[in-house]
Amino acid sequence: MAKELWKGNEAIAEAAIRAGCDCYFGYPITPQSEVPEYMSAHMPKHGRIFVQAESELAAINMVYGAAGCGMRAMTSSSSPGISLKQEGISYLIGSEIPAVIVNCMRGGPGLGTIQPGQSDYYQATRGGGNGDYRTVVLSPANIQEAVDYVQEAFDIADQYRNPVMVVMDGMIGQMMEPIEWREIPKRNLPSKDSWATTGRKGRAEHNTLNSLYIEPELCDVHNQNLSRKFAEMEKNEVRWEEIRCDDAEIVITAYGTPARIALTAIEVLRSEGIKVGLFRPITLWPFPEKALHELAGKDHVKAILDVEMSSTGQMIDDIRLGVEGQKPISFLGRAGGVIPTVEEMVEAVKNTLKEVQ
């Protein structure tokens, strides 16, 4: 199929439509406003539902209602807006309602900046809402992946009756790239009849969706069931990519835009004879911990350099858990909407190498 030129955010919206998204609820915020803008123009043409909610909170709770009725529902926002949705995400998980939530991240904290950021890693992988919960978090590094993952996200959500997040920095949402529309892997998805609140339909009792368990024992059982489900996701859904790691002395760990920059930095460094590779987590949760552990244990790997658009480093915690002290880890972080440059990354790799030589 011929390639087309798409802007990240509008491609994400189109991908959701192609994945059979029945309902979209959102609220504009830079840098993801093209998602609701595209949805507002195109969802009605397909006979689907678009609502510009009065707030991000309202949007996520509309998702709860629609997805609870068995509809494929989605919301999207950027960092501060995703913060507002945290309560709803916790309730979706508690009630086992599938949904897709897209975060086109900008710099924080608070209102931060409209320029790209990656400082919502904790929020996405550790949960900003209350309770013991997990969500599969897919992180595209280009627009092709963004459209593929958004489509898959609906299936993953339905498979586990759990919301799925697609998380990317604002650069991925705002840039233009050629893509093609390709088939995504088919999954055997369970029927929603046993739980979706679609009326009695001849059943003795109507279905009920709820996250409130007054009896502690029952709530404990509910939590145990959920954690078994999270373990299944952890087993089945982990994804990552290793590029030129076979002989790498320095392994850069990065996702999203910094991973793209790393590829250019690797070209520059390799041309100077420095052996460097990229380990790119694609699912931020489940994190590819075992794969990283194995890679870090290899003799040729001298050190890890973690690069994030975050001042403190957030993914670096998972890098540490994966590496488990086998090799030293250094860090390059830019925040507040500043994107690390190829030159900065090249410099950081050289410094990391010096420290271990």
Binding site: P31, I114, Q115, P178, R260, I339, V342
Partner: protein, 226 residues
């Protein structure tokens, strides 16, 4: 080709669907005019896009002697739809060649409406950028519909088409020819002439058989890893 000959009016106003490559074209046009000895002022009037705006290339443009003004000037990274008062300089100073880079779609083009009475007194050209790889404007019908809605919002009449069909780093000669066919169809339907075809420098020389001039560009609005 001579940019000043192809874009012969004193003021060039660049419009189109977002993602067609207006900013890349505007920046290259301003640089080409400056290289030909013109006194150029580029106005980045994009109130639609938060990233990839010509103001991000301020240093490059100023080094080439181009004056750059932008919306929400003192806060270039904000998405505040404030227009610079200096825009009037372009309209009033008859020695200047003006390039106005307008944000995408009729929504972005609305910034022009308030200046319509002033613009129409000047020697201007409203240019519509065509890109056959953008799904929403890839057919003559949809491209013309966008063009007409931009005219309706701005109150200005389009008098030139620019074929800027590309696929970022994957652009081929064939892609540009596909765009040339679309531009020709739009032109045939509307009577608006095709002014030129835009091509990155290595491809430009292979397209000399096209009936209109080829405007060679080098990519200035690069992604951080390019």
């Amino acid at each position: 080709m001579s940019a000043a000959t192809v874009f012969s009016r004193r003021i060039s106003i660049i419009t189109g669907h977002y993602g067609t490559g207006k900013t890349e074209f505007s920046v290259n046009l301003a640089l080409a005019l400056a290289a030909e000895g013109e006194q150029v002022m580029l106005a980045d009037l994009d109130i639609v896009n938060p990233y990839f705006r010509s103001r991000e290339r301020r240093d490059l443009l100023e080094r080439a002697g181009i004056r750059l003004i932008s919306s929400s000037q003192s806060c270039a990274n904000a998405d505040v739809p404030a227009l610079p008062a200096e825009l009037l300089t372009i309209l009033e100073n008859q020695d200047l060649r003006g390039v106005l880079d307008i944000g995408g779609d009729p929504v972005g083009a609305r910034v022009l409406a308030r200046f319509r009475p002033r613009i129409t007194q000047e020697d201007y050209q409203l240019i519509y950028v065509v890109n056959a790889n953008r799904p929403e404007v890839r057919t003559p019908e949809t491209a013309i519909a966008y063009l007409r809605s931009i005219e309706a919002v701005t109150g200005l009449t389009c008098t030139g088409l620019v074929n800027n069909t590309h696929l970022c780093g994957e652009t081929t000669e064939e892609e540009i020819r596909k765009g040339a066919a679309l531009a020709a169809a739009v032109s045939g339907e509307t009577g608006i002439p095709v002014l030129c075809h835009v091509a990155v420098e290595p491809l430009a020389e292979h397209l000399s058989d096209l009936p209109e001039p080829v405007f060679p560009i080098t990519i200035k609005m690069k992604k951080p890893w390019e």
